[in-house]
Amino acid sequence: MQASHSLHLSPRASWLKPGPLDWAYAVVVLIACAVAFWQYDHFMDVYEEAILAGSALGLIGLGWFWKDWRWYFPLSGLVSLAAIGIYDHELARAQEAFWLKYLLSSQSSIMWMCTLFVLATGMYWAGVLARSALLQKMGSGLTWAASVMGLAGLFTRWYESYLIGPDIGHIPVSNLYEVFVLFCLITALMYLYYEARFAARQMGAFVLLIISAAVAFIVWYAFDRQAHEIQPLIPALQSWWMKIHVPANFVGYGAFAIAAMLGIAELMVMRGWLADRLPSPEVLDEVMYKAIAIGFLFFTIATVLGAMWAADAWGGYWSWDPKETWALIVWLNYAAWLHVRLVKGWRGKPLAWWAVVGLFVTTFAFVGVNMFLSGLHSYGGL
């Protein structure tokens, strides 16, 4: 429904012409940010106040640009507010109050997110194999539901961290567990945007696979390693830079992951596998390009922000730390990909393969560096 809708928009960008619903959404966002400011200003420095104001504008812009966001974001907020209300300033209620215990505490929400993503994966595949638009639509619905639980879970976790202690509270993007949740969430949301924009739900079968892989990691990490426990921030991470550097990075990682999965889909279609059930290579190619373009933009921004943070925290904007170096390698990789596509006009197979290989490079930069190489970014100590 969204797809047919957006295809008939006038050529002028629609977000420049907000309708009544857009304005209503904007008012909701402004009220939410005002309340956040009024309630929590004493926790913020001037930079964080600026980030709050910027977030308000960014969220309004995003809602106007992508109409689905106008219900998704407030709904996630409401779910989280319900959790906060039931908590009633008492963290122990997570194990006692029914709704917190089974649905709304951050961990329950995140586990629901995981479950729904896996179900969505199955649903998309069933939809593709059975050529059933209905099943695919249900896959979409499950992905949306998972995304609501994921974002609500992160919001609630943010609140819970302050319940543990005012000096411990922080935005939940500070360790590998939290950013994996963020990765699932951002990848799913970006995918949902493309799915609607290009009216190609079959792509979900592929994109949700990588999300499910991340979900498997999250579940193992929580059950086996207790990585879900909220830890206070070491001094190096106590900075407002974290709030913008990490999310920007994960838009990049998420987009590159989508591109790689679509690359696989495109290669399969070109070989004739599932060719009659999947979108045409042209569509896959175009979405792949769009994903890499937006990923590249955000990865560039994230790397620049990271460099500026490093200049505050590590004594220099560039120290050739393994994380920095691998970020550069990822950046060079996609810069080259974009060059050969835009300048040399490459299309199809080689670029699809390259996007798939790119995911390995990206994954190494994301997790491999932390696991195998020691450096400043592993935060082993001061």
Binding site: M111, P235, Y317, H339, L373
Partner: protein, 674 residues
């Protein structure tokens, strides 16, 4: 470039090669591979570590390639320089054409070429060019009208020319960033090093003795160095890493550390590192006071001062030196300073006592007993975001090395406070002979007053042959009254007690064991060993009484706790023989002086790099998100031709074309109506 056509001279061919994308991509690939090497091979380690890891041949080979500091090696910087050159030439080569294209409207396009465009169609009817032009302008196009010789009118419109601007921004950005980076890479210093005017110092000598060839004065372009300052101390230089050694960088000011603060969360994780600094300008004497934290540096005179690390700044210590070679039960008080070394004479032996770091807190995660977690418990755990950490603070600790005249050293790790184990209190010291080994921990039992004195007294008595007669006599008397031995055997029993004591004093349990192994037939060893241990166990309460009465302390009755103490004493006394040193130090007091590790940097290229980054981001946005669209409407009177192109073919253009087509048809109607 006087002749642009078919120029095949070598310089031109080089120009073509260097400005080509093939070349740029090649460079990027090499850069990426080189970067990988630098992340896999740990950079800037002390050279002996590399030599140890790779062996002499490969160590020298890798050194020749500059692999220990890849990112500052000549060849790496050369690649970067070529990248700057290549990008610059790319801009020079493509720039003029792009500018021309950006400015032009291509209003002279022929009908044939317009008809051949993918998005091109005929519209029947006539519209007012002025009205169409107005509409297009309203949609954000800039329009140029051109009247052909045949009388037809061409409206050539375009928008999104900023797309091409994006190309300039992004590529100029790369050059700007690289120049900024090279500026901070301090090329002049690299050249001076290559020319041999600057030579890194490799010896570990006081800073003031470092010769001029290893010193850099205050007008050095850029640097990044470290210095450790103790509380109440000052520094006016920093040390820069340089290959196998270091350089001394003079600062334009003096940094004084007033106080260092460290704070922990309840689970033992660090929460805050902060230094109260006074920075005094050498020339003007102007003093700036500030507190720096991680993430909150101080910038003075273009030099940024960062909180980088912390440690011990040389804390005065008081210690008790216990003679364990010839125990006398009386300690010798000595003084020392952590992170410093001092001579220590012990009898005829001379040692060097090298103190390591004093740590005031030793927070240990004792974890929890891993229970059998069933599914319900696991679900409960996974819901719980707060975990109570079981931590305890073991209190202050000090490390020291005792180095003999041959240079052999034993390293000790000593905890000042009593540490509880199995419900009893011990004074704990770890010892090892080699750095890589784990510490062997020695547990000295403490008395009710948490003091080690009673153990030391006992240990001294155990090793004092002058007391053996009395000990043997009292032990035998006790054994006799308890009916354990008969009167005829008293003499023999006394001799056995003395013999066992002497053996034990000689080398602890191992000495008794080796005797048994040497002299006793295998089938009797077990029984004999049991006997010796029984004798020791029976003797040691007597030893304590004798030792106590010698020291003028009233003897106390032996209860369960006391008996455990005595057994621990035997174990510890035996273990002292394996200490490998004649003296054991006990920390009795300290006055903590902390040190703050500061990093000081001057990076004049930083602003340039940030400017380049901004240009880069703007450039990327313009390139990817501003679509360049060109549109032509040719008015032939009764029919019109509409044609559109875009720099990128995608469905946006299809949609735009549909829209333009519909709008133009509408305007046909409109002009008829008017």
């Amino acid at each position: 470039m006087s002749s642009k056509k078919r120029n095949t001279t070598l310089p031109y061919r080089l120009y073509e090669l260097f400005s080509s994308m093939r070349f740029a991509i090649g460079l990027l690939t090499i850069l990426a591979i080189a970067s990988v090497i630098g992340t896999v091979l740990k950079q800037n380690e002390p050279y002996p570590n590399y030599a140890f890891e790779f062996g002499q041949f490969w160590f020298q080979f890798f050194e020749l390639l500059g692999l220990y500091d890849v990112y500052h090696s000549g060849w790496f910087l050369t690649i970067l320089a070529f990248l700057v050159l290549s990008t610059t030439l790319c801009i020079v080569r493509n720039g003029p054409g792009f500018v021309r294209e950006m400015k032009g409207y291509r209003e002279k396009a022929s009908d044939t070429s317009l008809a051949l465009m993918q998005h091109s169609c005929e519209v029947v009817g006539d519209a007012d060019p002025a009205a169409v032009s107005r509409r297009l302008q309203g949609e954000g196009f800039s329009v140029r009208e051109h009247r052909r010789e045949d009388g037809s009118v061409v409206l050539a419109a375009k928008k999104g020319a900023a797309n091409k601007l994006g190309y300039f921004f992004a590529h100029i950005a790369m050059v700007v960033i690289c120049i900024g980076g090279l500026l901070d890479g301090n090329l002049p210093l690299k050249i001076a090093e290559l020319a041999g005017r600057i030579v890194p110092e490799t010896r570990d000598i006081p800073q003031s003795q470092v010769p001029a060839q290893s010193r850099l004065d205050t007008d050095n372009l850029s640097f990044r160095g470290n210095v450790t300052v103790g509380e109440g101390r000052s520094a006016d230089v920093v040390f820069l890493n340089a290959g196998n050694g270091y350089l001394v960088q003079e600062l334009p000011f003096i940094v004084t550390l007033k106080k260092f603060h460290v704070d922990y969360y309840s689970n033992g994780m660090p929460k805050l590192f902060a230094s109260d600094l006074v920075v005094t300008d050498k020339a003007t004497g102007k003093a700036t006071e500030a507190t720096i934290e991680v993430n909150k540096p101080l910038i003075v005179d273009g030099v940024a001062i960062y909180q980088a690390s912390f440690g011990d700044g040389g804390s005065p210590l008081t210690l008790n030196a216990w003679n364990v070679a010839r125990p006398d039960g009386k300690p010798v008080p000595i003084k020392g300073v952590s992170m410093a070394s001092q001579p220590l004479r012990f009898g005829e032996q001379a040692f060097r006592l090298e103190f390591g770091e004093l740590k005031v807190f030793n927070i240990e995660d004792i974890g929890e007993t891993p229970g059998t977690a069933d599914f319900g418990q696991k679900m409960k755990d996974v819901r719980e975001v707060r975990k109570e950490k079981h931590v305890r603070n073991l209190g202050p600790s000090i490390t020291y090395k005792l180095r003999d005249e041959q240079g052999q050293a034993r390293e000790f790790h000593h905890y000042m406070a009593p540490i509880a184990q199995d419900g009893r209190q011990y004074l704990i010291t770890g010892v090892r002979a080699e750095v890589g080994q784990p510490f062997q921990y020695l547990r000295l039992p403490l008395d009710e007053g948490m003091a080690v004195d009673r153990f030391m007294r006992l240990n001294a008595a155990l090793a004092n042959p002058a007391l053996y007669d009395e000990i043997a006599r009292r032990t035998a008397a006790q054994a006799l009254s308890g009916g354990a031995i008969s009167p005829e055997l008293t003499r023999q029993f006394e001799d056995s007690v003395k013999w066992v004591l002497a053996r034990f004093a000689d080398g602890g349990f191992p000495a008794l064991e080796s005797f048994i192994d040497d002299k006793v037939p295998a089938d009797k060893r077990q029984a004999i060993a049991q006997t010796y241990i029984k004798i020791l166990q029976g003797t040691v309460p007597v030893v304590m009484d004798v030792a106590d009465s010698q020291a003028g302390v009233a003897p106390t009755p032996v209860d369960e706790a006391k008996y455990r103490f005595l057994l621990d004493t035997l174990v510890a006394s035996s273990a002292l023989h394996e200490l490998g040193a004649p003296v054991l130090l006990q920390l009795t007091g300290f006055e903590q002086v902390q040190a703050s590790g500061l990093q000081l940097t001057r990076s004049p290229g930083k602003d340039l790099v940030y400017l380049g980054s901004l240009l880069l981001i703007i450039g990327i946005i313009l390139m990817f998100y501003v679509r360049e669209v060109r549109l032509w409407v040719v008015f032939h009177g009764a029919r019109m031709r509409l044609a559109m192109t875009s720099n990128r073919h995608n469905r946006d253009l299809d949609r735009d074309f549909e829209h333009q087509h519909a709008a133009l048809q509408q305007q046909v109607g409109a002009s008829h109506a008017s």
